[in-house]
Subunit: 602 residues, 2 copies
């Protein structure tokens, strides 16, 4: 009999009497209704966490069948207790689709196959014809290692690779080095502005501080003298001393403190490199907080964290991912701190791009190739890996990519990245995140006894931080717009954006004529930057991915392709320190394997 139907299985589905997915006539992929559970059947209580798990289960089967999200023809979404006024499924599904727009039907149902299931999604996909790997011509240049990206990860990797005695070239798609560090002189001559990464410290960020010393960077200690300000739900503002909690009512204060301490404790319990906790990962951070009794203010405070740190809402990402992200910076408190040992302790007067410029200038001429975006990476059968840019083909024994996960889709890999790598990189999300540097004629907040730090439940800026450089007469408040208020702000015209921020700053520091003090706003929207993977400072993962695939999956090499970049870091993810360490880690992998390849030939 002619076989027309092939069953697709995952590791945990072979015992089912039906298939989780089938391919008919090699062309159509039929995916059984996927619920929001983990591989071992754990189902989180809340609907929103289930939606994320459900979509990840769908994604895994799509990848296992060799397909993409763009191949989805039709989705059927079954929802229990459907509430038309609270369509929580829409945003995650929309994000899952990206720009693809398949057909979709929503079916409210009284229940699903298992009582705890609240959502199930089935899908039909049109499979592509398998594409053959391109046959690239002979390479015009050959190196031991090709490094993709001249940010801090790529440049650090280049230094380490060369130090180990191997040749390399660094291919950078932009016309500058530095990646997500980008420093620009203010047009009024008042010093340098960082539109990307801005802060380091001089203790536990040892690698970046080494660079600061090596290249003579002048550091500016973050101002934490004087009061911070909390802007509450109704827009009203109240001062509180740095390092203390805002002036909530006592029961609220207690709840906020408990939730903060609980998050810190959960962070500290995790393995930084290989976090593992199925229940934590099955929940959104919001669901986790609510399950622990977070009240309105505690949730709003945690929302400030996720927006200002990753540009996402607490309902967008896995609790495990967020807590592990914090742990990578020493914990929630340390990563968020602006004081000694904290994530935001020092700024760089010359701008943080100074480090990348220094590293690049220390490499021989020709090692860094600007404006050389990589289109194609082919791992050939003979262990040679070819890298194609618009202008040239490079041959290498090893490739290190430092490209942010979401930007991997800019490159065609042959063979395709393995399923686990695809499942991870395609699940990564960037929220909305923009820093707007508001330059003023004077540091009026300092003059009034404020350190400049603002936390706002309303926005547009969720967090505001002092970024002055007194020696340059640069008086700047950096406004962090992240998550939903950030998106709302982004929809405004430039004039409206400025006005909205001045209004907020005016409200925070009542009595100041902010329009009169205002000089200019400098902002760069990383969400439109394809080389950054459409976001900054770091990607997030929705529920289910981290625990299912394992903490090492993103940084694990595939054949002769190695992965770096701050999101692959075990320590200080999302920071310059993480980028440098990731580049050095990848370089060490590469050097070790190249060395053993040599000795095995001896």
């Amino acid at each position: 009999m002619v076989e027309t139907v092939e069953t697709i299985d995952l590791s945990h589905t072979t015992g089912l009497y039906y298939g989780p997915a089938t391919i008919s006539n090699g062309k159509v992929l039929h995916i059984s209704g996927q619920p929001g559970n983990t591989n071992d059947g754990y189902v989180p209580d809340d609907y929103e966490s289930q939606i994320h798990l459900c979509l990840f289960n769908l994604r895994k089967l799509i990848i296992a069948a060799g397909a993409n999200i763009e191949h989805i023809a039709k989705l059927c979404v079954y929802i229990v207790n459907y509430d038309a006024t609270n369509r929580k499924h829409a945003k995650p599904i929309q994000r899952f689709f990206g720009r693809h727009r398949p057909a979709q039907t929503l079916v409210p149902v009284p229940k699903l196959a298992v009582p705890s299931w609240l959502i199930e999604i089935e899908a039909t996909l049109a499979l592509p014809y398998p594409s053959l790997p391109p046959t690239l011509p002979v390479a015009s240049e050959a190196y031991d290692v090709v490094i993709i990206g001249a940010g801090l990860a790529g440049l650090s990797a280049a230094h380490a690779v060369r130090k180990a005695g191997y040749s390399c070239v660094v291919l950078e798609s932009r016309d500058r080095v530095g990646g997500k560090t980008w420093s620009q002189p203010l047009d009024d001559g008042a010093g340098i502005i960082d539109v990307g990464a801005g802060w380091i410290n001089d203790t536990n960020q040892s690698r970046v501080y080494d660079l600061a010393k090596r290249y003579g960077a002048e550091t500016i200690v973050q101002n934490t003298e004087g009061n911070c300000v909390l802007q509450s739900f109704d827009g009203s503002c109240s001062p509180f001393p740095y390092g203390e909690l805002p002036d909530f009512d006592e029961p609220v204060k207690k709840n906020v403190a408990e939730i903060r301490d609980l998050c810190e404790a959960e962070c500290q319990a995790l393995d930084t490199w290989r976090p593992k906790n199925t229940e934590l990962d099955a929940q959104t951070f919001e669901a986790f907080l609510l399950s622990k009794g977070a009240g309105k203010e505690a949730l709003a405070t945690a929302t400030i964290w996720t927006r200002a740190m990753l540009g996402v809402e607490p309902s967008d990402l896995s609790a495990l991912y967020f807590l592990n992200y914090c742990k990578s910076g020493g914990g929630l408190l340390q990563m968020r701190s602006d004081r000694k040992d904290g994530g935001q302790y020092l700024r760089i007067r010359q701008g943080t791009q100074h480090f990348a410029l220094g590293l690049a200038s220390d490499l021989p001429q020709g090692v860094v190739r600007l404006s050389s975006p990589v289109h194609t990476v082919v791992q050939e059968a003979n262990s040679i890996i070819k890298v194609q840019t618009t202008e040239k083909i490079y041959a290498a024994r090893k490739v290190i990519t430092t490209v942010p996960g979401p930007a991997l889709k800019n490159i065609d890999f042959y063979p395709a990245l393995p399923p686990v790598k695809r499942a991870w990189s395609e699940s990564l999300i960037h929220g909305y995140y923009t820093k707007a540097m508001m330059e003023f004629k004077s540091p009026f907040w300092v003059e009034r006894g404020y350190c400049g730090l603002v936390q706002s439940f309303t926005g547009p800026a969720g967090v505001i931080r002092d970024s002055c450089s007194p020696l340059d007469k640069k008086y700047v408040l950096t406004c962090f717009m992240g998550g939903e208020p950030g998106r709302a702000w982004a929809r405004l015209s430039n004039e409206e954006r400025i006005k909205a921020l001045l209004d907020q700053i005016g409200k925070v520091y009542g009595g100041v004529n902010v329009e009169n003090e205002f000089r200019q706003m400098v902002a760069y929207e990383w969400v439109n930057d394809e080389w950054a993977g459409w976001g900054c400072p770091c990607t997030s993962l929705p529920p289910g991915v981290l625990d299912s695939l394992g903490g090492d999956s993103l940084r694990q090499s595939c054949g002769n392709l190695h992965f770096a970049g701050t999101e692959t870091a075990g320590e200080w993810k999302g920071y310059m320190e993480g980028a440098i360490r990731s580049g050095e880690r990848a370089a060490a992998e590469v050097a070790k394997e190249l060395a053993s390849a040599v000795s095995s030939r001896l």
Copy 2:
């Protein structure tokens, strides 16, 4: 305009405004949600019966479209009043799939299109490209009739065909004759054991009794002297005289008697050859019993019947099929009786394979070809039918297959069997059914005043029967393991199986040291026997098939292909008598048609 969609109809669906199924672009079969009703719209009250009808409706459309179960890509199951703790759909659907694993989504719904519908299943199938019939080379031998199978049906047919003056050959896949009769000497010299069919009688089983006389078989009257034993739900045992009801409480006894008498009356009302009763056939036997007020003990008693007679649970088969099966043996009481006129009246000292060995030895050399499994049967346009085995191609004017229905899939038929024949043969199920012959040093049960007959609500054996041959000093209890307890027993190791049966026998005949008395266990698992169609003694039909297709469908010929075998018998289905009669019936059909072909040429 190019037609891209073809509607598939059944005899009763042409009046619908929509199609029960469509084929799109010749490749994809879309089947509308199928409810659990009969062709004329009758819907049984109970969920489980509806599941069976629903699957049969699906099967009919699949067959009508020229497809197979293995072409199902996706199933969507809609269930009203879904209860996750009582997933009655799973087992029938799993059985329907066989080893195929399509995608599947279960959708609980508040109601369906018609208030009485409790389940509906829709399906998507990937159709195969039509395969051309093979062109077989010229046959090396030609006969009037090729008979497939040298069991009692095939050998009886061969004798009848030859007696009518036609040449024939009998192709047998095994290396022995006898089919599901198989007699083996006990290795301690204590006579013969029948691992297959074991009982006949000398009155209404006239054809097999003729063979017994012709070949000098010695008969042993089944022991019905002394007490039987009932093993109840809690494992406790109580004796009762043969022919009476067990010692239940009076109301229970009354209920059991009423249900038994009702089944007997329903049997007797049926036409043996062409039973017709839409309502009876739309229900499982269990649903029928419950609708008639069967209590716990009456249902357990009826379960003993279906397990010991067909290896199935009462929820697995149609009430009409079971009652008609009983009717074919003269009724429930007669078929189950171990006394004069009953189904289990006489055993054969030499073993029942003696009949087939006798019939084969009475045929000229070369008529029976052992180890000749048939792979392909091609009905050519010129009325020649070619039969291909591994070694040879035979040409015939007629073919009689005696292959059990489920084993027809071992043969490729060209053209494919007609839809009605496929719908029947593919719906046939074999339950789990194994006879384990427990040989003891003495007939300790007889010595204690028991006839040996045991009925058990618990198992592993649902029924135990004496199978002694005193002249041979053979003291055997035959344990019938059928249905779910049989499957559970089958999952044990051989040592555990023996222990489980000795434990049961020890409990039944308390006070006997059964381990001390035990000699050996002999058992053959017909469920693993591909030539028997993976089961014994006879196939069953789930609800809907018999009434929809008609009682004659399985035995009706297609072109020059004729059907025999005990399951096609009108009388004594599942018995040796039925096999012989079916072979003689098919031979008569063939002889009649061959004769009229000759006279029409005159």
